[in-house]
């Protein structure tokens, strides 16, 4: 697709015929019927190589194994924690996936590791039939202290990160903040100019469908 300077990206609607199976291959957000590729979502139409795909402009987060998410601990159980990960399903972080040392669960209260209301950066270990298990074994997984949480549409996370982190690095540099983005659309921000970073992130969430967003954000942050 040729880059235009301004204007709205091409928007596909559910049921739109995007092409013939002989010419293209069905990508994400599409299905095929009778040799035709049809869109499943209201979203941005992208063609890369032979693939036609539709990136939805709204929707809930569906956990996939290996992805990193930011969650809030909602309950401390006997052998683990219940974590809210901004998806339709609750997730569970079991003790063995969270702590390395030996713990006698009869004697030790688990809230000395993670307590209700704590924010954690975790990895999805498995997600089957609405049963989501988390893990803290990854090198970047940890408890996040201080900071502010902002929620954006989960499908717009790639746009917020940008190509090889270009967009998120831009915001980090210009505002002097530390930012962590969960694939579930929860963004953790900490630092000096948090307000400015929040404004920029909200703007990306609202205007992800227009061209020249990077320039607009640069302009917004330079003011």
């Amino acid at each position: 697709m040729k880059e235009k300077e301004t204007g709205v990206r091409e928007i596909a609607y559910p049921g739109q015929v995007l092409g013939d199976k002989k010419e293209f291959l069905p990508g994400v957000g599409t299905y095929e019927e009778d040799g035709k590729i049809i869109s499943k979502f209201l979203g941005i139409l992208t063609k890369s190589g032979n693939y036609v795909s539709v990136v939805p402009l709204s929707g809930v987060y569906i956990p996939k194994p290996g992805e990193h998410v930011i969650g809030i601990v909602t309950a401390v159980e006997k052998v683990g924690w219940v974590v809210d990960i901004n998806s339709p399903w609750e997730s569970f972080l079991s003790l063995s996936e969270a702590v390395d040392e030996f713990i006698d669960v009869k004697r030790v209260m688990l809230n000395r590791y993670y307590d209700e209301g704590d924010i954690i950066y975790a990895q999805i270990a498995s997600a089957k039939r609405g049963d989501v298990q988390l893990s803290m074994r990854g090198p970047s997984c940890k408890k996040l202290k201080d900071g502010v949480l902002v929620k954006i549409t989960p499908t717009k996370v790639p746009r917020l990160i940008g190509k090889e982190g270009s967009m998120i690095n831009l915001i980090k540099e210009k505002t002097g903040t530390m930012i962590r983005v969960g694939q579930n659309g929860v963004v953790w921000i900490s630092g000096e100019k948090v307000d400015k970073a929040i404004v920029a992130i909200k703007k990306i969430d609202e205007k992800s469908h227009i061209y020249g967003l990077t320039e607009e954000i640069t302009k917004l942050l330079s003011d």
């Binding site: 609607y13 049921g15 402009l57 929707g59």
Partner: protein, 238 residues
């Protein structure tokens, strides 16, 4: 509105509101009107106005209602007390319960629900002004709201009503025509493959008449389908 005896609903090929037999009323559609909902839409056919809001997919409780391999749809059709000429009692009536089910069944075939086990998709439709054909207006609004909520769909759903007054087949009945009609046929279909998802009939029609009416409804449905696409695209136009 009660039945009026001997009313002439069609004069010189024109209806009471000046429409031709196979002409629909003025249609207005708007998407994304409720910020707190995952998806929402407003659809107006003449005076009939429906607002639909979609919440979810979200975790379904109580647990015994959950389906282990797919999401379920819960739909509620409600007429506001002030929507008709004479105030209607608040609360779900028999008629509203039936239409809730009919709207749900009209939408179910277009949704891909396998990705969301144990969840529910809640569709709430409020009629804020009623002037005939409320169930098809509800289906149109709910279809747009589902697309806005980012739920995977095979196709949109286009709905339209047809009927017969004074021996003449017509499209898109309004309140008076609805109450004095010889037949009333609401229909919903997927425009791509012309698969019908809802077809009801109230009254009497001949075999040839119903075939003709369905064909006319498919034709007029194209216009409504275009309006739906336009409304969805306008949602993301800066």
């Amino acid at each position: 509105m009660a039945k009026i005896k001997g009313i002439e609903l069609i004069k010189d090929g024109k209806r009471l509101d000046g429409r031709k037999p196979f002409e629909t009323r003025e249609v207005e559609m708007k998407v994304g009107i409720i910020p707190n909902a995952n998806g929402s839409a407003m659809v107006r056919f003449g005076k009939t106005t429906a607002i639909a809001a979609v919440y979810g997919p979200r975790l379904l409780l109580p647990k015994h209602l959950q389906e282990m391999d797919k999401a379920i749809i819960q739909c509620r059709y409600n007429m506001a007390p002030f929507s008709t000429d004479e105030r209607i009692k608040p609360g779900t009536s028999r008629r509203e319960l039936e239409i809730s089910k009919v709207v749900r069944l009209a939408l179910e075939p277009v949704l891909f629900l396998e990705n969301y086990p144990k969840t529910t998709i809640d569709v709430y439709v409020e009629i804020i002004q009623a002037d005939g054909s409320t169930r098809v207006t509800s289906v149109n609004a709910a279809s747009l709201a589902l697309a806005d909520a980012g739920i995977p769909m095979k196709d949109l759903v286009v709905a339209l009503s047809g009927g017969k007054i004074n021996g003449q087949l017509i499209l898109d009945l309004n309140g008076i025509e609805d109450n004095n009609s010889e037949a009333d046929v609401p229909m919903a279909f997927m425009p791509n493959k012309k698969h019908i998802t809802l077809l009801q009939m109230d009254g009497e029609l001949k075999h040839e008449e119903i075939s003709k009416l369905i064909n006319e409804m498919f034709k007029a449905g194209e216009i409504i389908y275009k309006k739906q696409i336009e409304a969805l695209k306008n949602r993301y136009s800066e």
